[in-house]
C-alpha cells in the first residue's frame, strides 16, 4: 500500500509542476526581459545572463508612465468603491426583498455582462465628447462601474443568500439595537463576500484596454495598459521592449499578490454567481 501512495503522490507532483509551468512561464519571460541589459536583450534566451534594473529606472523617470500608473490606481479604486456600494444595495434588495421587476433587473444585468463593449465605444465616444467627459477620469469611471455592476450584483447576491439573516432577529431579541445587530452581527458575515467582490471588480477594471484606448487621447486619463501600447523607445530605432516589460511587471505584481493572498476567496467569488443557478 505504502509505495503505491508514494507513487501516486509523485505522479500528482509531476502534474502539479506542469500546471505551475503553464501559469508562470509567460510571466517569468516578462520579468526576464525587464531585467535584461541592452547587450543581451536580443539574445533570445529565456533567462537573463546579466540582470540590471535599468528598465525600471527608465519607466519611473517617464512622466507618461507614472501618470498612467496614478490614473490606473485612482480610476480603478473609485470605480470599485462606487460599484461595490451600488452593487451591495441592489444585491441586498435582490437577495432579501420582494419587489416588482426583480427578474427584469437580473436579466438586464446578465445582458450587460455579455454585452460586446465595442458596440458602446462609438456612441460613448460621441456622447462623452459632447458632454466634455472624453479623456477625463469620470469618462472612464462611468463605463467601468456599469460593466462592473452585473459582476458585483451576481456575486454579492449569491453571498447574501448564504447569510443566516435570522441571527439579526436573534440579536435583537437578546436586546441589541437594530444598529448593533447590523454592525456586530450582519456586517462581519457580509464583509468576506463584499471584499471578494471588490477584488474581482478591481481586477476587471485593471484589465480593461478597449475603453482606456478609445475614450482617452492624452496621458490625462490614460491607464497603464493603454499607455503601454503607446510606449516608444528613446530613438526611433530603439525598440521599447525593456520598458514595456518593466511596466508589465509593475502592473502585474499587485494583482499576483492579491491572488496569492486571497486565492480561496477569489475562487469562491468566481464560482458563486455562475453555478448555483
Amino acid at each position: 500500500m505504502r509505495p503505491e501512495t508514494t507513487n501516486r503522490k509523485l505522479t500528482w507532483w509531476g502534474i502539479n509542476i506542469l500546471v505551475l509551468l503553464y501559469a508562470f512561464i509567460p510571466v517569468g519571460w516578462l520579468i526576464s526581459l525587464s531585467v535584461k541589459d541592452a547587450g543581451t536583450l536580443n539574445d533570445g534566451k529565456y533567462f537573463p545572463t546579466s540582470p540590471t534594473g535599468a528598465s525600471y529606472t527608465a519607466i519611473f523617470k517617464n512622466p507618461d508612465f507614472v501618470r498612467a500608473l496614478i490614473n490606473s490606481i485612482g480610476i480603478c479604486l473609485i470605480s470599485t468603491l462606487v460599484a461595490i456600494v451600488l452593487g451591495t444595495m441592489s444585491a441586498y434588495a435582490i437577495a432579501r426583498l420582494e419587489f416588482p421587476g426583480k427578474r427584469l433587473i437580473v436579466a438586464m444585468a446578465l445582458l450587460i455582462s455579455m454585452f460586446p463593449a465595442i458596440a458602446l465605444v462609438t456612441p460613448l465616444f460621441k456622447i462623452e465628447t459632447a458632454l466634455g467627459l472624453f479623456d477625463t477620469w469620470p469618462g472612464l469611471i462611468i463605463p467601468y462601474i456599469t460593466f462592473a455592476l452585473p459582476l458585483a450584483i451576481y456575486t454579492l447576491s449569491a453571498f447574501f443568500r448564504e447569510i443566516p439573516w435570522d441571527l439579526e432577529k436573534a440579536a435583537k431579541m437578546d436586546g441589541a439595537t437594530p444598529y448593533q445587530a447590523f454592525r456586530q452581527v450582519i456586517t462581519p458575515l457580509a464583509m468576506p463576500g463584499i471584499f471578494t467582490t471588490a477584488i474581482l471588480v478591481f481586477i476587471a477594471c485593471w484589465n480593461d484596454f478597449l475603453f482606456a484606448l478609445s475614450l482617452t487621447s492624452t496621458s490625462r486619463a490614460r491607464t497603464v495598459p493603454a499607455a503601454m501600447s503607446y510606449f516608444a523607445g528613446a530613438t526611433t530605432f530603439e525598440k521599447p521592449t525593456g520598458p514595456i516589460s518593466a511596466a508589465a511587471v509593475v502592473i502585474t505584481i499587485p494583482i499576483v499578490i492579491f491572488v496569492l493572498v486571497f486565492q480561496r476567496r477569489i475562487v469562491a467569488g468566481l464560482t458563486s454567481g455562475a453555478v448555483k443557478g
Binding site: I15, N16, Y92, A93, E98, P143, S214, Q263
Partner: protein, 319 residues
C-alpha cells in the same frame, strides 16, 4: 425567499375573529409589503439607472448613427441614409474576412478552452498534494492584464528577441501562425476561468455515484463520460456560453499581437479602426449594431437549442 412575520399571523386571525382586527392586520400586512417594495426599488434604482444610461441609451444612439452618414472628417455631409451603411459593411469583403477570422478564433479557442479547462479542473479537484498551490497558481493567468500577457507572447514570438521564435522566421507576420498565436494567447489566459466554473460543477458530483459506477466495473474513462459529464452539463454550457461570447469580442490580444495586420482583424478590431483611425461613426456604428445582433444570436442558440440555463435567469427561486 424571505418570509415576512405578518402573513401567517394575518391568516390566523382571519379564521377566528370577524371584527375589525382582520382589517387592521390585513392593512398592516399590505403596508409592510408596500414598504418592502418601495425599499427594494429604491435600493436598485441607482444601479439600474446607471446601467440603462450607459448601455441602453448608447445602443439606441448607435442604431440612429448607423442610419446616418456620420463621418467626422466631413461634418457638413451628415444626412439620414437609411441602411446604406449596412449595405456598405455587408458587401465589404473586409468585414466578412474579419467576421470569419473572429468566428474561427471563437470556435477553436472555446473548444480548446473546454478541453484544457476540464483537465485543469480535474487536476485542481483531484490532486492529493499541493492543492492550494495548484489552485493559486492557476489563478495567475486569469488575474493578469490581457495586454501584459499579449506583450509576453508577442515578444516570445518576435524574431531575434523571443525564446519561442524559430530562427529566420517571423511567425507574427504570416496569417496562419498569427492566428495560432492569437488563439494560444486567448486560451492561455482564459483556461483558468473555465476550469474554475467546471470545478464548481465537479464539486457537485456525488462521490458515491462514482464509487457505485466503479463497483459496477466502469473504467475511469466511462465514469467520466457516463456519470460526470451528464451531471455537470449545466456548468459546461454556462462556461461555454460565457467564453463564446467573450471570445467573439476579442480585441486586446489582436491589437497587441498583430494590430490586425495580414487580415487578422477581428470584428471588434475593425470597428475600432473605423471609429478611431477612420473617424467614420456611421460605418463604425453599423458594425457595432451587427456585432450586438450576432452576440444576441449566439446567446439565443445556446439558451434555446442547447438549453443552457442562463445564470440568474431563475434567480427568484434561488436561495
Amino acid at each position: 425567499m424571505t418570509t415576512l412575520p405578518s402573513p401567517p399571523a394575518a391568516e390566523a386571525t382571519e379564521e377566528r375573529l370577524d371584527d375589525g382586527t382582520v382589517e387592521i392586520a390585513r392593512q398592516r400586512y399590505t403596508d409592510a409589503k408596500k414598504a418592502e417594495r418601495r425599499l427594494g426599488l429604491m435600493l436598485v434604482a441607482p444601479a439600474v439607472v446607471l446601467m440603462l444610461a450607459v448601455t441602453a441609451y448608447p445602443i439606441l444612439y448607435a442604431i440612429w448613427l448607423s442610419l446616418n452618414k456620420a463621418d467626422l472628417r466631413r461634418p457638413n455631409d451628415n444626412q439620414f441614409i437609411w441602411f446604406d451603411n449596412y449595405i456598405t459593411v455587408l458587401s465589404s469583403p473586409i468585414w466578412w474576412t474579419a467576421f470569419g477570422v473572429t468566428m474561427l478564433i471563437t470556435v477553436i479557442s472555446a473548444a480548446l478552452e473546454l478541453v484544457f479547462g476540464m483537465l485543469l479542473a480535474i487536476v485542481m479537484h483531484r490532486t492529493i498534494v499541493g492543492r492550494g498551490l495548484v489552485r493559486t497558481s492557476a489563478l495567475v493567468p486569469y488575474a493578469i492584464v490581457t495586454v501584459v500577457a499579449a506583450f509576453s507572447w508577442r515578444f516570445a514570438w518576435t524574431e531575434d528577441l523571443g525564446w519561442l521564435a524559430p530562427a529566420g522566421s517571423a511567425p507574427l507576420t504570416k496569417f496562419g501562425t498569427s492566428i495560432a498565436i492569437i488563439i494560444l494567447a486567448e486560451v492561455w489566459k482564459t483556461v483558468p476561468f473555465m476550469a474554475l466554473l467546471l470545478m464548481a460543477g465537479l464539486a457537485l458530483v456525488p462521490e458515491d455515484l462514482l464509487k457505485a459506477a466503479s463497483m459496477d466495473g466502469a473504467t475511469a474513462w466511462k465514469r467520466f463520460w457516463m456519470v460526470t459529464v451528464p451531471l455537470i452539463k449545466p456548468a459546461i454550457l454556462v462556461a461555454l456560453l460565457f467564453r463564446t461570447l467573450d471570445a467573439f469580442r476579442i480585441f486586446d490580444n489582436i491589437y497587441i499581437l498583430t494590430s490586425g495586420a495580414n487580415h487578422t482583424s477581428s470584428v471588434s478590431m475593425l470597428t475600432y479602426s473605423n471609429l478611431i483611425r477612420g473617424l467614420n461613426l456611421g460605418i463604425g456604428s453599423a458594425m457595432s449594431v451587427l456585432i450586438f445582433i450576432t452576440t444576441g444570436i449566439i446567446a439565443f442558440i445556446f439558451i434555446k437549442l442547447f438549453g443552457a440555463a442562463a445564470p440568474g435567469a431563475d434567480a427568484g427561486g434561488r436561495r
